[in-house]
Amino acid sequence: MDIFHHFSPDITAILITLKLAVITCFFLALIGTPLAYFLAFKSKKTKPFIETIVTLPLVLPPTVIGFYLIIFFSPETTLGKIFIILTGEQLIFSFYGLVLASIIYSLPFWVQPLQTSFEKIGRDTIWTSYSLGAGLLDTFLNVIIPLCKKGFFTSFIISFAHTLGEFGIVLMVGGGIHGKTKVIAISIYDHVEQLSFEKAHILAGGMLILSFIILLTLFYFNKRSVVRVK
């Protein structure tokens, strides 16, 4: 029991991190999937513009995104008011603030693999499905999703892993409040600051192993399906 108490703050941080990653991926599936579809098939003139916006989080310092989120979602603004109505809290220092920040930060990681996957199955496959009498939703559920399994898998794994590893933006938006917005990455930072290297080792090592396993799974499965196609 002593050991449990010793590590209980870290366990809380782990649970919050996992919860954040799962919820973020859920919203990414809802938002990022149509966006990837749009980019793959629909847009022509607007495509470079939207692609740029989706890719921005890759190149911007997380603090820049965090800064603008805090500004745009401050309680006086319309966006801020909508956020309060939806979640009951203001964005800063709240868990759903973290979720929103993670969605934006991980958006390119969801959209890009899926967009590539959609582009690969191509327009002809979709036209074929329509011409056989399958409507839009029917085609999406029974043709596109099964054919893009690999793309969905990649998007999910990479976005999940990426959300686990966020630091700057979660610190900026969430503030690292224990039991609420303190995720693993921040816990490690705190442990190192307090010179408790033993705890930092456990969390850091755990993250390393987990990320390694996640990526290994991804590359293993993707490689295997490439071999199968040949």
Partner: protein, 373 residues
Amino acid sequence: MSNLSVLLKGKIGSLFLNFEHTFKNDGINILYGPNGSGKTTIISALGGFVKNIESRIIFNGNEFKDLDKYPPYKRPFGIMFQNPILFEHLNVEENLDFVIKRQKSNSQKKNLISKKYLINHLELTSLLKRSPENLSGGEKLRVVLARTILKQPNYILLDEPMSDLDIKYKAKLLVFLKDFNKKFKIPILYITHSIEEISQIGDQIVLIKDGKKIDSGSVTNVLNRSSFVDLIGKFEISSVLEGIVVSYDQILRITTLDLDGQKLIVPGLPGNLKDIVRVRIRSRDILLSSSRLETKITENELQGIISSIEIEDNSAFSELVIKLKNLKNNKKIQKLRSRITTYNLKKMKLLINDSVFVYISSVSIDRQAYQSI
């Protein structure tokens, strides 16, 4: 049943399409034209896949004007695209079932063509459980064709379906298509580049160039017109003759056709007794002589009268049109085009209205050139 009336106008890429034609609601209708002339666009537009052009498509009393009201998945066409696709996540049988499952929504149609019929006639039995990625080009094509037909469409649109096939497969599939078309009376719009395919299965033909219709009519007529010659280039010029099977020799495998009283021996057994068979003869395969030759060098000797001579500028060749003698006096006139060097024309001193003897080697009549009708 009404015909399929199509009007399409608009710019697609670099092509300005201005196409108007009413396709017959029976037989096999060929759409022929050079690459980039708009053939594929016409099929795509019929399927509802082309936006931002003026289109008026009337079929079975419905006008498919509004893409929202008639989106691609509600149109009664069975389309086989140029690059035929099977869904890779389903096996062959599941690919066929994909379209059967979606049949119920348009339930007013009587299910005429059974899965079993197609599996038998397209030889799919051994393929059913296989995954599309392990199929050869020909196997894939047969499955896609079966799936297209299983939609029970009111009109079948095929975009160069045979372009990648080897000759043996092609001949079989063409026979299947022709029989299928005759049996189920579902009209087919067929895009092709191959003159063999046209003469073998085509009933009507539309010629298109640069987005515009150049000519249309029955295959026998259009193939002998100058509009067609302009499209295919002189070297491939040919004539289509119709003859009735009067006898065949099972051992030597030859068939004798009656061409309005004259005889033409062709290789193979293209039809049964009394069938009308269409034969394509290339202009460059014809030998002419102003007097009868005492020769056994070819199987066939026909008689005719030269009705026109065209000496080509800047080329070594001349084109002659020969009206074949009709010994039956049934008023039918069959014309044969001949391509010879201008040197030989001058040497033989041939003039319009001269009688000529035509010599044709049966070897030059390939098996693909027949169609029994």
